[in-house]
């Protein structure tokens, strides 16, 4: 058994070591920017709108060799996009870690969820516009945007309008209200596009804002029963959309509201202008490619770009438009954490009382020897600390961690150590190889 193991393990370790050493030599060559892969942080999950968008452009850049190094997509979802944006904001301004994010970056600040907005970044370029629509269920009584706003005026705060608190859609909804004095929606945080679609169909929402791509995806074929389909009331762009010739604009109805969203690329503040220039050139050349255009057309992303002065102007306009509206915080919701905490306290009391009354003996199967476990745990903590401060390369730290943990568990038995060394080398080098080469994950 042991011999078979050695026959496999030793050559594999040799190959991995060779790869590792040659890799070290390669990366030493000094070159102009970019000399290493550029990480693009997508502050949402893989497979979402922003993610697909970034992957499309990064693929075009790689296919046409527009940059000497690839763009590597890093997904950092969470906190309505603020986890990823903060990560990039706090990154070194060397152009090796950039962000792609839409206008939530503005609304996240205005709604108070983070203290920084677009001013904390260097905008690289805006690529692509997202058209927005107001959508209701097919059988809804409203035939136009005016109908909807009139209904919201007749009975204020009852029309359930899906717009997540603090999102760009929330600000758009407030713009609509302002354009029709007296109208007031009941703005409801109803989740992402799919969730809002289901809520519309199920009658849990009366109207909602969707992107053009979402609407085209959700709209069922003609002949679907009206309570199982959705209908756009109006588009929020300045002109009618070619893909939806039958849907009018708000402007045409005399409601002075336009609204859209767009994808922007951001670099940390202080990034050198020539780096910004290189990046924006590459992105714009990718943007011009035939296959990119076609795909964007399929995804209903408008072919708008802006850079330099016009980009700064655009961002400034956006911020000043949105600043006029204060987010309506929902203060009438119960304080859930407090409730949960109180219930936990009550249950702890019950458990304590019960165990005192029943005088249950401590469970029999308690572990006997704590020491090796504590030492192993300490080794793991030291290992993560080393990685945290970047003191030791990942592979080396992992090899040491695996070896020492194994040795502690085995109680330093001599005959176990050779195999353990092999396992440690395989775990360290192998995991580095699989994750950095095959899956292009950035290891600590």
């Amino acid at each position: 058994m042991n011999r078979i193991w050695h026959i496999f393990a030793v050559p594999l370790i040799a190959v991995l070591l060779l790869w590792r050493i040659s890799g070290v030599f390669n990366s030493n060559s000094e070159a102009s920017y970019p000399a290493q892969p550029i990480q693009v942080v997508v502050p949402y999950d893989a497979g979402g709108g922003t993610d697909n968008f970034v992957r499309l452009l990064s693929k075009a850049i790689a296919d046409h060799e527009l940059l000497p190094q690839p763009l590597v997509v890093i997904n950092q979802p969470g906190g309505s996009g603020t986890i990823g944006s903060r990560y990039v904001k706090d990154s070194p301004p060397d152009g090796y870690r950039i962000l792609c994010h839409h206008e939530s970056i503005i609304t996240a600040k205005l709604s108070g969820s983070v203290p920084f907005g677009p001013e904390a970044f260097e905008p690289i370029v805006q690529t692509g516009g997202i058209n927005l629509l107001v959508v209701v269920r097919e059988d809804a009584p409203y035939q136009s945007m005016r109908d909807l706003l009139e209904a919201a005026k007749q009975e204020p705060k009852t029309l359930r309008f899906g717009a997540n608190l603090g999102s760009p859609a929330h600000f758009t909804a407030m713009k609509l209200e302002a354009a029709h004095p007296g109208a007031q929606f009941n703005l409801i945080t109803a989740g992402g596009g799919q969730k809002r679609f289901v809520s519309l169909l199920g009658g849990h929402l009366d109207a909602g804002i969707f992107s053009l791509a979402e609407y085209l995806a959700f709209r069922a074929e003609e002949g679907t029963p009206p309570d199982k389909n959705v209908r756009a009331l109006a588009v929020l762009s300045a002109e009618r959309l070619p893909s939806l010739p039958g849907v009018g604009t708000c402007l045409a109805e005399g409601i002075d509201v336009t609204s859209d969203n767009a994808y922007y690329w951001w670099a940390p503040q202080g990034t050198p202008p020539e780096v910004i220039e290189t990046l924006s050139q590459a992105l714009l050349s990718a943007w011009e490619k035939e296959e990119v255009r076609e795909t964007l057309n399929e995804w209903s992303i408008a072919p708008e770009v802006s850079q330099g002065e016009s980009l700064l102007q655009r961002l400034e306009d956006r911020v000043s438009q949105m600043e006029k509206f204060a987010v309506r915080a929902k203060s009438d919701l119960p304080n859930f954490p407090l409730y949960a905490f109180l219930i936990v306290l009550a249950l702890i009391a019950v458990v304590i009382v019960k165990s005192v009354v029943e005088r249950t003996a401590p469970s029999a199967a308690l572990p006997v020897e704590y020491r090796p476990a504590i030492i192993a745990f300490a080794i793991v903590i030291a290992y993560v600390l080393l990685l945290q401060f970047g003191l030791v390369p990942f592979a080396l730290a992992t090899i040491a961690m695996v070896f020492f943990c194994g040795a502690i568990i085995s109680g330093w038995q001599r005959q176990r150590l050779p195999v353990l060394v092999e396992i440690a080398l395989l775990a360290g080098l192998g995991s580095e190889f699989v994750f950095t080469r095959i899956f292009t994950v950035a290891l600590p």
Binding site: S199, A329, L333, V350
Partner: protein, 495 residues
């Protein structure tokens, strides 16, 4: 050419079959490793499928999905380290049975149950996708809230010996899910100044912390108390045809429960097995045996969690609604390949729909063949000396937590929850309800908030909407029944 025929030809081609084989094997492998999940593998493989034909790409991804949800059972049974939340319930009976010296038997039961569950839900997917998908729209915020409430009571009633401790565990899980940006208000709360906490604790680090890290520490510490924990049994512990008869009703019932719950976006995979297990327990003549390595427990959990796959694919295919992160990625894959997921997928690209259905069917067959062929080998996992196995698992846990969103913070979270899990178990507070509470708490809160926002603070729809009321009544029934039963038992004992 006829799209059905084309899809079948493509799947049946050597490339198609090879992709199913590759995807399922990788899925099983990754699902079995604590720390790595099918979700992660699918996310990582997504960019690799760019250049591939879209139908082949989906074949591969669906196979990984099916493989991973089955593979989670292996380590859940043998090491008590569930690879995914869906296999937590399998640890309740699978691990005790394995400790009794029947690891192969436990695996065999799980594999067969997984297969049956997968196939039944596949049948539902093929036959009922369209009409059934619309059912999920009937569930509004209040229905979701009541469903989660019921699920929490369910898990509390099955998770341990003491109802109050299980409820406490569930509530602690909910509390642990609260830090971060609140879904309803968009404001950060309970972050204690750590901006990394703005997104709260992620599920994966919490899960592998509580189970894998805790169990590793326990294994190290308990080295001398349980010298040879699991011994391989004889070959006769494998699946027999009489078992099929014995577990037939349970498998069918659990599969249907799993598939129906799988339908509901966001909830499916995690509580399908909880519900099936608790129904199996409460209809059993010997409910006390559950949790001690009782075979029906494994069968119920495994048939239900595999059945959720087919169930969850129904809204995805019929309406373009993803039920979980995995499905959201599958949806993204469709978009990347130029397909428009949504109510029109069926009429616009029927070939893709047939490919997805066909891939699920084939992957299930490949899964059962691979797993039953390699069962003996898998069971020997427990024979690997712990000093070799545990450090490697630890490495995977660290990488897995890190790769989740590329930050070491999640690794620290994993270690902290490892310590917490160790303490909780030492105080005999069960971990399964903790994780389920952790998963479901945010769903409950989000939906209750949305509901209360739309009614302007009125709670009464919970009791006036029929589906919601039914669920609440079930929850109350589940709380009261065990108490009544316990009283009856104690009076019988005293008389």
């Amino acid at each position: 050419m006829d799209p059905l025929k084309q899809a079948l030809l493509q799947l049946g081609s050597p490339t198609g079959l090879a992709l199913v084989l590759l995807g399922t094997t990788l899925g099983i492998f990754v699902g079995a490793i604590p720390g790595l999940t099918g979700t992660m593998l699918i996310a990582l493989m997504l960019p690799l499928t760019f250049g591939v034909d879209p139908q082949y790409a989906m074949t591969l991804l669906i196979s990984v999905y099916v493989g991973a949800i089955s593979g989670g059972m292996i380590t859940a049974t043998l090491l008590r380290m569930p690879g995914t939340p869906a296999s937590i319930i399998t640890t309740l009976d699978g691990y005790p049975l394995a400790r009794k010296g029947k690891p192969e038997r436990a695996l065999a039961l799980g594999v067969m149950a997984s297969f049956v569950g997968g196939m039944i839900s596949w049948g539902l997917l093929v036959l009922l996708a369209k009409p059934v998908a619309l059912l999920s729209t009937r569930f509004g915020p209040f229905e979701y809230f009541s469903l989660v409430l019921t699920a929490l009571v369910l898990i509390a009633s099955i998770g341990g010996k003491s109802l109050s401790r299980s409820l406490l565990a569930g509530m602690l899980g909910i509390l642990a899910s609260m830090p971060g940006i609140a879904a309803a208000t968009g404001q950060a709360r309970l972050t204690f100044g750590f901006t990394e906490l703005n997104d709260g604790f992620h599920l994966l680090p919490v899960l592998i912390g509580l189970f894998a890290v805790n169990q590793i520490m326990r294994d190290i510490a308990g080295k001398n108390s349980t010298p040879e924990a699991i011994k391989l049994g004889e070959r006769r512990h494998r699946w027999r045809w009489t078992d099929f008869k014995e577990h037939f009703a349970n498998m069918i019932r659990s599969s249907f429960i799993g598939a129906w719950i799988g339908l509901l976006p966001g909830i499916g995979a995690n509580i399908g097995s909880v519900a099936a297990y608790s129904v199996a327990k409460s209809t059993s003549k010997t409910p006390d045996k559950f949790g001690t390595g009782h075979e029906p427990g494994i069968v119920a959990a495994e048939s239900a969690n595999n059945a959720t796959v087919g169930g969850a694919l129904i809204p995805l295919i019929a309406m373009g609604l993803p039920g979980s992160v995995v499905e959201a990625i599958l949806l993204g894959a469709l978009v990347i390949h130029g397909l428009q997921p949504g109510p029109r997928l069926f009429s616009d690209s029927p070939g893709m729909v047939y490919t997805i259905m066909g891939a699920m069917f084939l992957a299930n067959i490949v899964m059962v063949v691979i797993m039953s062929r390699s069962m003996r080998l898998l069971a020997r996992l427990t024979e690997i000396p712990r000093e070799y196995l545990l450090p490697v698992i630890l490495t995977f846990c660290v990488i897995g937590s890190f790769a989740l969103s590329n930050r070491l913070f999640d690794v620290w979270v994993m270690l902290a929850f490892g310590g917490l899990g160790f303490l909780l178990e030492s105080w005999r507070i069960p971990l399964a309800p903790f994780v389920i509470g952790f998963v479901l708490g945010p769903i409950a809160e989000e939906n209750l908030s949305a509901g209360l926002m739309s009614t302007n603070g009125d709670w009464s729809p919970i009791f006036t909407r029929p589906i919601s009321l039914t669920l609440v009544l079930i929850a109350i029934g589940l709380l009261v029944l065990p108490l009544l039963r316990g009283r009856k038992k104690s009076t019988e004992a005293s008389s």
